[in-house]
């Protein structure tokens, strides 16, 4: 029996991979509902390794390239790519972004208009990362819990793991000295008039923004990156920056309703990459940072490989640093 503490992204993806490898798995979470204690509820849910490479190590691609396929077995994945745009005055940002990334094609005003008719005439240049995808984080986490249970995983909510913990996936709560919180803030908008079908990234030297459609006129916008452990509600500064950026994507968002705002703490190691860490008899999977949905599947495969070196197929590239 493998006992996991934490039924967030790291805990549930690991539970599923361990169960697939034949283990009996029990997952404990102190929250009474799936996802309630997980910072992933505020995530964008982008499966965008090529865009993320702009500001992250190559591992986001080697570990994340297959994430969309992994998730597609579990939850609906929208494979419509990512459109990266910038206001005319910040065209230099687009040039820089292009230089630091791969897996895109350059698009002009006409291409942008045919990809996203709502943005026609608003942007003259962009980058289209066709292979990227996104999912709905809250639904995905529930579906993931369901898939794990179908595989025989026992999930016990509202309870601390009794006795020994084999795998600690408690995020920022974990007792790891080089783990730090990076605060992220988001908002959920509802617009009846604007239809955007894929993830949009708006580049700006100070306030890069992503907008992820959730369907039915709902749009998630995020996400700030602040070196802080504060869990207080979104600040006016951050919210006005996020909303201002949404307005720049389309002025019609001025009429959108702000349905929700949120702030959470992403757990991160100094290199902003996740890793397995052995501490006594307990293995930690932590540090998913802003790449939870992207990197959790590959990391979970590594967890399974750690517990069952023989039985697991290496479906993903490795990153172990115990």
């Amino acid at each position: 029996m493998i006992t996991i503490a934490g039924a967030g992204l790291a805990g549930l993806t690991s539970a599923l991979e361990l169960a697939r490898a034949g283990a009996e798995v029990r997952v404990y979470d102190t929250c009474p509902e799936i996802g309630e204690g997980s910072v992933s509820r505020f995530a964008g849910g982008m499966l965008a390794p090529w865009c993320e490479r702009e500001n992250a190590e190559e591992e986001v691609i080697t570990l994340g390239a297959r994430a969309a396929d992994w998730w597609a077995d579990i939850t609906p994945v929208t494979r419509r790519g990512t459109l990266v745009i910038a206001p005319a005055r910040d065209a230099a940002e687009l040039t820089r972004f292009a230089r630091r990334t791969s897996g895109y094609r350059e698009v002009d005003a006409a291409d942008i208009g045919s990809l996203e008719p709502a943005l026609a005439g608003r942007f003259s240049r962009g980058l289209f990362f066709e292979a990227e995808a996104h999912l709905d984080p809250r639904r995905a986490l529930r579906d993931l819990a369901g898939a794990a249970q179908a595989q025989g995983v026992e999930i016990i909510l509202g309870a601390k793991a009794p006795g020994h913990i084999d795998l600690d996936c408690t995020g920022i709560q974990a007792p790891l000295s080089d783990l730090r919180p990076v605060r992220g803030e988001m908002a959920m908008l509802h617009s009846a008039e604007i239809t955007i079908s894929r993830t949009i990234r708006l580049l700006h030297p100070r306030i890069p923004l992503y907008l992820v459609p959730r369907g039915g006129g709902l749009y998630m916008i995020g996400g700030t990156m602040i070196e802080s452990s504060s869990e207080r509600a979104v600040t006016l500064r951050s919210l006005s920056e996020l909303l201002g950026a949404a307005f720049t994507i389309h002025p019609g968002f001025a009429e959108a309703s702000v349905m929700e705002t949120g702030a959470g703490l992403r757990p991160a190691f100094p290199d902003n990459l996740p890793r397995l860490h052995q501490s006594g008899d307990t293995i930690h999977l932590n540090g998913l940072y802003r790449h939870g949905f992207l990197l959790a599947p590959a990391m979970a495969t590594q967890v399974a490989k750690h517990f069952f070196p023989e039985r697991t197929n290496a479906n993903h590239s490795e990153r172990t640093n115990a």
Binding site: A56, E57, R206, E227, S228, S229, S230, F269, P270, D271
Partner: protein, 255 residues
């Protein structure tokens, strides 16, 4: 260079925002060899603590110069400076009072007022200012012992937009440490500033947003050192004509 009774041997200050990761920031600090790093309080605390991040900064051994980036009024800047003094146990403060959210141009009137309040309160103020001589004088009157003129708008990477104004500043404030803060994009910009006789350079975006931040930090450190040595070595003046470096007299002239 001596600033507020502290000797600083490496004429480079590094900002700590916008790096891909704290690990890369640490590499950049080490590669530059700089002794002083600046950290923004306003943005990075958000009323909790940035403890994890700050601990990593302290590990580098660099001296921390907190800044008031993002403050738009005297009161905001003064409050932030007080928070910084408590959090980092230092009376050094890089004073920024931003006049406009988009251009990030300093509000020099509020800057002078905040500098006066803070120096009276025992702070050692490093004011981020323009290259205006009179503003510089007012800041010195307010008790500042160092001036930090811009090279170009923050984060713009334009290099020195007004080298003549910086040259004039050097001439006007011969004994005052001058640190170019903001606008440096490439190593040659930093070298140029040092050749004008500036005492140090403060950088952030040019290093943090480079493809290889540690490599750029090192390149900047070398350029700054080259510029500093070049200025100290008293460069020759420009001339309109060629000047032969070997004697012409006595050479066979073919008729």
């Amino acid at each position: 260079m001596r600033i507020y009774d502290t000797d600083i041997s490496v004429p480079m200050f590094l900002g700590t925002a916008q790096y891909p990761s704290p690990a890369i920031l640490q590499q950049a600090i080490r590669a530059s060899g700089c002794e002083v790093v600046t950290v923004s309080l306003r943005r990075e605390t958000s009323d909790g603590t940035g403890a994890g991040f700050w601990d990593m900064l302290r590990e580098t051994g660099a001296r921390i110069l907190p800044n008031t980036a993002g403050c738009h009024s005297v009161q905001e800047a003064v409050t932030t400076a007080h928070m910084a003094r408590e959090l980092f146990a230092t009376d050094w403060i890089k004073l920024e009072v931003i006049g406009h959210a988009d251009t990030l141009q300093p509000d020099v009137f509020a800057l002078v007022e905040a500098a006066r309040i803070l120096t009276a309160d025992g702070f050692k103020v490093f004011p981020y200012t323009t290259d205006d001589l009179i503003v510089g004088e007012k800041l010195l009157e307010a008790g500042c012992q160092v001036l930090m003129p811009w090279g170009a708008p923050i984060g713009s990477g334009q290099g020195l937009r007004t080298p003549d104004a910086l040259r004039a500043m050097r001439a006007h404030f011969p004994g005052v440490p001058l640190i170019v803060d903001a606008g440096i994009g490439r190593p040659s910009d930093a070298a140029q500033a040092m050749e004008l006789g500036m005492d140090a350079i403060l950088l952030n975006t040019a290093v943090a947003k480079a493809g290889d931040p540690a490599g750029m930090a090192r390149a900047m450190a070398l350029a700054i050192e080259a510029g500093r040595m070049g200025f100290a070595a008293d460069p020759i003046d420009r001339r309109d004509m060629a000047v032969p470096s070997t004697p012409v007299l006595g050479l066979a002239e073919l008729l």
